[in-house]
Symmetry: C2
Subunit: 301 residues, 2 copies
């Protein structure tokens, strides 16, 4: 599981800070999460192949989370993309994109499929044989979702020496990976656990931005491998949180602790702060395993 931070700053793009956008590579998918202004340039800078992006998730319709989307869709069109593009985001997003397409008298030559979100409870919005994606309803000034990306249980691993010794036909390997006992060439039933190994634990990633401190997300993100939680402010500016519906680094860490996640990544920093060490120090008073997002940074888990 790889996470590339394209932008992790709040409010407005600046010369050296980008608004929210990130790419999650998981089970051969490249999921783009949020798409602030300039995201297409950051994708190029970070050498993400445009054609690998087939699903885009937009948390909410504040500009710093989606103003780069229409440009990215237009660029896909100019690059003569043909593969489907799925966009998940709040109701209204389709109107914004289609209005601008219509005014430019240009439509995409690829299927552009909108999945508009309106539910106020967590829902499954994507599933294939390897991954499922759920919304995480967040508490912000406007309708907002986080997204939980979960690997499904991985298949058991064939112990190739044991399988050869047991004289099992290759046709049964698929069943073995799925955990079944099978008969060998002599018709003897072979116990699965004698010829396979435990699968690696499925990983998960929860993206939670933007949101005020809200413990209602804890059951949804419980035991997640990696939590990205917004930390727009530090303790000293906590008074701004309620009005703006943002969180402090400490609050993000308390959520991480209560949800028993493995790793917390802090991001969505207000541009009022220079440097982010204070965010890490503040969060570590509550929770040990804290990392800082940074534009252009690649995390591997």
């Amino acid at each position: 599981m790889k996470l590339t931070i394209l932008g992790c700053h709040s409010a407005t793009p600046r010369t050296n800070t980008n608004p929210t956008a990130q790419v999650l590579e998981i089970k051969n998918h490249m999921f783009l999460i949020d798409c602030g202004e300039g995201t297409q340039v950051e994708l190029r800078r970070n050498k993400v192949k445009f054609s690998r992006i087939k699903h885009i998730f937009i948390s909410h319709l504040h500009g710093d989370h989606y103003f780069g989307l229409v440009g990215l869709v237009s660029t896909f069109r100019l690059l003569t993309r043909e593969t489907e593009l799925h966009i998940y985001g709040p109701k209204g997003l389709k109107d914004v994109i289609t209005l601008q397409m219509k005014l430019s008298d240009s439509w995409t030559n690829f299927p552009l499929i909108f999945h508009e979100l309106t539910s106020k409870t967590s829902e499954l919005i994507f599933e294939d044989d390897k991954v499922e994606i759920h919304t995480i309803p967040l508490n912000h000034r406007i309708y907002t979702n986080g997204f939980l990306f979960k690997e499904k249980e991985n298949e058991r691993k064939i112990d190739i020496n044991a399988v050869l010794n047991a004289n099992i036909n290759v046709a049964y390997y698929r069943k073995l990976k799925q955990g079944a006992d099978v008969k060998n060439e002599e018709g003897v039933l072979i116990k699965n656990e004698t010829v396979t190994k435990e699968p690696s634990a499925p990983k998960s990633y929860a993206f939670c931005s933007d949101t005020v401190y809200d413990e209602r997300i804890i059951p949804i993100i419980k035991n997640t491998t990696v939590l990205y939680h917004e930390s727009t402010f530090l303790d000293k500016n906590e008074s701004l949180c309620e009005r703006t519906k943002h969180s402090t680094a400490r609050q993000a860490a308390i959520i991480a602790k209560k949800a028993n996640v493995e790793t917390l990544i802090l991001g969505h920093f207000s541009t009022r702060y220079n440097g982010h060490e204070a965010f890490e120090l503040e969060a570590k008073e509550e929770f040990d395993n804290v990392l800082l997002a940074k534009d252009g940074k690649l995390f591997e888990f």
Copy 2:
């Protein structure tokens, strides 16, 4: 008259090339012309004070000319701007901006005034005591205008020694600047041209992007000081012009020659070309005074 090129490339923003945007400083105005994605960052990079921008002109609704507008307007809001902002552009632009404002549940705290353009003939869209601005109907795939910025006749210059010698009361200086003859302290009529000098010639700037070669613009831009004319392609790709409604460098130069402008600036380069010397060489076969636009370049006239 100063022109700062923020972006002069066609189609899509890339790591090292920006889509169309430029700032014209004329008679103490800062006019922003077009606003492709990333323009607000380029304004910062080029140290243009946001508060000095009061008028924005959008040529047409292809994304590379306006996808940065909604972000810039949002940033003005976040910076608690209070002064009026006037936006001139094709019908539909207001819908795009207001829809996105509405969906983000945030309206500007400054007056945002749209001047939607629909005329297919040149019209006067702005005038004060120093400057007037006219549209230049262009021939592109969708409804498009260029813009002609014209200084008004400048006032005559007081020859201070002559005025003192003639013993003219300071109360008459205003009339002298306007060209009138005035009486001196002894009641003698003083001929204006004996105590004033010729004003400097008014300057003008014509922005013409995007457009196919079309001689119908020549009467409008005749004798302009500086013409910015798009040159998306070179001769060798001229066959693309008719379908895409763009021009070559040679065609831009022929327009410049026929319109008798002083200086031609080439821009809106297709990103298929590396380096732009060939554009200059091609144009100079038709017209002598050719300059190349470049992202971040400041021209003074």
